[in-house]
């Protein structure tokens, strides 16, 4: 049994933390938060590319470092902890994973080296309005290699160079790769709950679209991409949730009320114990997800669902109860607590809300435990 990061992976993780502690302070995150004209931290994005993180799980033959997905999970946890304001998930978890999973060798050769080098920013364009993505929700369509339709919201859609788009072709949903710099694409920036992670409305009017993977397999491919992304995002959520517990603990130990530190009241102690329990359950599920992702195990859909559900719950609970532990000061713009509250919402929504994953999970369990 070796159900933990290895020593090398722990070293990578601690180096990543050191780098982000130095280069991604919350003070720096706030430059993106407070500046409406700054969709992401371009300088940090370049630095992260130089670290090689964008290509951590991309094979060396395609310009990556050729490490495994567990290494990528270790990096993801640190990015989540630092609420990094960069399009890492869109580019690495969505675009790179989709291309590695379903792309032709030509598509891999064209995109993966550029992703690893930080020359490409990705986006996943599946939603067209309120409510989950289903076969019925897809109206965008491709005909003769031209995409028409609207996607809203597309996280990082305002800065992305390439998008993975869910659209119908011949009446069936497929996945398509769209170069957003080509003609027929209109972008409209949107206000978001988490301004450190921007989004846009994309309107396609005959934009050139290449199919990614077999025709008509879009929903199944999307599920596979989301399974992989869900595990990686779960590590970001674990990192954020742990940071929330640390912040709540530090504040509770210094804040006095009624003549003693508030950390000495059971109401606060039990709240923090609840946060700890949720964080540990999330971490354990995330580890299993990492194992399933790294080994491409048949358990991946179930493991990814469990990882996403547990991590979404932990980060949501931790981020809201961190504010509560801070009291009034926690509700101010100046205190960092809302950065995590915002990011917890962004991460819980971006790959489909927890209730969608709960339904998927139970459907899988029903099949697995078929009488």
């Amino acid at each position: 049994m070796n159900f933990d990061f290895s020593d090398d992976q722990k070293f990578l993780k601690s180096e990543a933390r050191k780098f982000l502690d130095a280069n991604c302070t919350t003070q720096r995150v706030r430059r993106t938060l407070d500046d409406d004209a700054k969709p992401y931290d371009e300088a940090l994005w370049k630095q992260v590319a130089e670290q090689g993180w964008l290509g951590a799980a991309i094979p060396e033959e395609y310009g990556g470092l050729g490490l495994g997905h567990v290494e990528l999970c270790a990096i993801a946890e640190e990015l989540g902890r630092a609420v990094a304001p960069i399009p890492f998930a869109s580019t690495v978890y969505f675009l790179a994973e989709a291309v590695m999973l379903a792309g032709s060798d030509e598509q891999k050769k064209a995109l993966l080296p550029k992703i690893a080098a930080g020359e490409v920013i990705g986006a996943l364009a599946t939603s067209e309005g309120p409510g989950p993505v289903t076969a019925q929700s897809v109206q965008a369509s491709v005909s003769g290699g031209k995409l028409t339709g609207t996607k809203i919201p597309v996280t990082d859609g305002d800065i992305a160079t390439h998008a993975v788009v869910l659209a119908k072709e011949g009446g069936k949903p497929g996945l398509f790769l769209v170069d957003l710099s080509a003609g027929g694409v209109t972008r409209e920036a949107l206000k978001t709950l988490d301004p450190t992670r921007d989004a846009a409305k994309l309107t396609f009017d005959g934009a050139a679209a290449e199919r990614l993977g077999p025709q008509g397999e879009g929903l199944s491919l999307l599920e596979q991409v989301l399974d992989r992304a869900a595990v990686l995002i779960a590590f970001e959520q674990c990192g954020g949730a742990d940071r929330c517990l640390e912040m709540a603990k530090a504040y509770a130990l210094e804040r006095y009320a009624f003549g003693r530190v508030i950390a000495s009241y059971q109401a606060i102690k039990h709240k923090l114990a609840d946060m700890y329990v949720k964080n540990e359950l999330a971490r354990s599920n995330a580890y299993y997800g990492a194992w399933a992702l790294n080994t491409n195990a048949p358990e991946l859909p179930v493991a990814a669902s469990a990882a996403r559900i547990a991590a979404s719950e932990a980060f949501w609970f931790g981020s809201k109860e961190n504010i509560q532990t801070h009291g009034g000061i926690g509700f101010t713009w100046e205190v960092d607590a809302h950065l995590y509250y915002r990011r917890s919402r962004q991460l819980s929504l971006v790959a489909g809300a927890p209730r969608v994953w709960k339904e998927r999970l139970v459907s899988h369990l029903e099949r697995r435990n078929a009488a």
């Binding site: 049994m1 599920n285 469990a306 559900i309 209730r355 435990n369």
Partner: protein
């Protein structure tokens, strides 16, 4: 990140598997796990394990164990659980009481007890909780007074409660009050006692669940030798911490009906729109949550095992098990009963799915949320020992025990 044994672990597992194949029982001994009519089978299995060096794998050679590692114990437990083994009534003794005796008793006492306990010939119980002190073990009122006849003997009077296995135990370790003038932690002394002493009366507790797995134990003029004292006079709190520390090493598994039983039952019960209840969205969401919690605990145990495998002491993650599983047991059982709607009021195993497992869980769960540390105490432990938050303000810490507020 893998689930593979190291080469040494794989070799040990193979050795255990081969031994179990030849020696483990092939069919269930039957009977009620709370009852005790499986005792003969339990003792026979324990004796077999002891003879082969599998009874207490981590015990050092001087205690009669093979001096194995915690991970070897985990491997043995994993493999053993694949067979229909009888209940284990020895664990409280071997896990908590006997290690305390081994730490504090003289050489003759150790020699006398360790072998029979290891072989399952003698069973031990732990006499800590009292009617006036459950979570607050140091508030014990059972008195031990030294006899005035110069023998050095001690006379014990008082009452213990929630004693697991007292009805079939041969010996016990008991926390007593020896100095009521000292603050509560400083006036306790620990002894071992022979449960067949005529002054000791064991009465089963009739639980709200109907069963009787625990007992009240009354001490009336029970005379023990000074040589039965474990540790110094008035040093019993330190001794009890040794006992409780050993308790924390136990790695618990799931209890009661779980998510898969719920899924199975929900297929057979009608739901809101006439289809099966498993199609009800509210139940599906709950099922997902229980699955995720259960998996979270399972993999938390895997992280604990990993630490053991690396020769490390398990981290605090191992402390979360019961606080999650006991509440889930109650919530899941209640949801299953409510799923049956009006029919749920029936509590007759012949008329219920899974022989009434959910109804049993519903009525047993309140006890599980209290036994071995209440939810509230466990959260205090996580807050204080894991997160390092301050201990509660203790108004009774420096007060002589006899002046402590008791509410009466």
């Amino acid at each position: 990140m893998d689930f593979n044994d190291s080469p040494e672990e794989a070799a040990y597992r193979a050795q255990v598997q081969a031994w179990l194949k030849d020696n483990a029982p092939k069919k269930n001994a039957g009977g009620d796990p709370e009852g005790g009519d499986t005792m003969a089978a339990s003792k026979a299995w324990q004796a077999k394990k002891a003879a082969a060096g599998y009874a207490q794998i981590t015990w050092p050679k001087e205690w009669g164990g093979p001096g194995g590692t915690p991970i070897q114990q985990v491997i043995f437990n994993q493999e053993e659980s694949k067979y229909p083994i009888p209940p284990n009534p020895f664990q409280i003794g071997l896990g908590m009481c006997v290690p305390t005796v081994m730490t504090f008793a003289d050489e003759d006492t150790k020699k006398r007890f360790v072998g029979p306990a290891l072989r399952g010939e003698e069973i031990w119980c732990q006499l800590f909780s009292e009617p006036a002190g459950g979570s607050d073990v140091a508030a014990a009122r059972t008195r031990a007074v030294q006899a005035t006849d110069g023998s050095g003997d001690w006379i014990i009077d008082g009452q213990k409660v929630w004693t697991t296995g007292a009805q079939f135990s041969n010996f016990g370790i008991v926390v007593t009050r020896t100095d009521p003038d000292a603050p509560k932690h400083k006036g306790l002394t620990m002894f071992w006692v022979d449960m067949s002493d005529p002054g000791i009366e064991v009465r089963p507790i009739h639980q709200m669940s109907g069963g009787s797995g625990f007992n009240e134990v009354f001490f009336t003029n029970v005379r023990v030798k000074d040589s039965q004292r474990l540790g110094a006079v008035n040093d019993g709190w330190k001794v009890s911490l040794v006992t409780l520390m050993n308790e924390r090493l136990a790695v618990g598994g799931p209890t009661g009906a779980g998510w898969s039983q719920f899924l199975e039952a929900a297929r057979g019960v009608a739901g809101l729109d006439g289809g099966p209840a498993i199609k009800d969205q509210a139940l599906r969401e709950k099922l997902a949550d229980w699955y995720v919690q259960t998996e979270g605990l399972k993999h938390t145990r895997n992280r604990t095992i990993t630490a053991l495998s690396r020769g490390q002491t398990p981290g605090p993650e191992s402390s979360i098990g019961k606080v999650v599983s006991a509440l889930q047991m109650q919530d899941l059982a209640n949801s299953a009963v409510e799923m049956m709607d009006q029919y749920g009021v029936i509590n007759d195993e012949k008329l219920l799915p899974l022989k009434g497992a959910f109804h049993w869980s519903l009525m047993y769960a309140p006890g599980l949320r209290i036994a071995g540390g209440t939810d509230e105490i466990l959260k205090n432990i996580i807050a204080e020992r894991v997160l390092g938050l301050p201990g509660d303000i203790r108004v009774d810490k420096d007060v002589p025990f006899k002046d402590m507020p008791t509410g009466r």
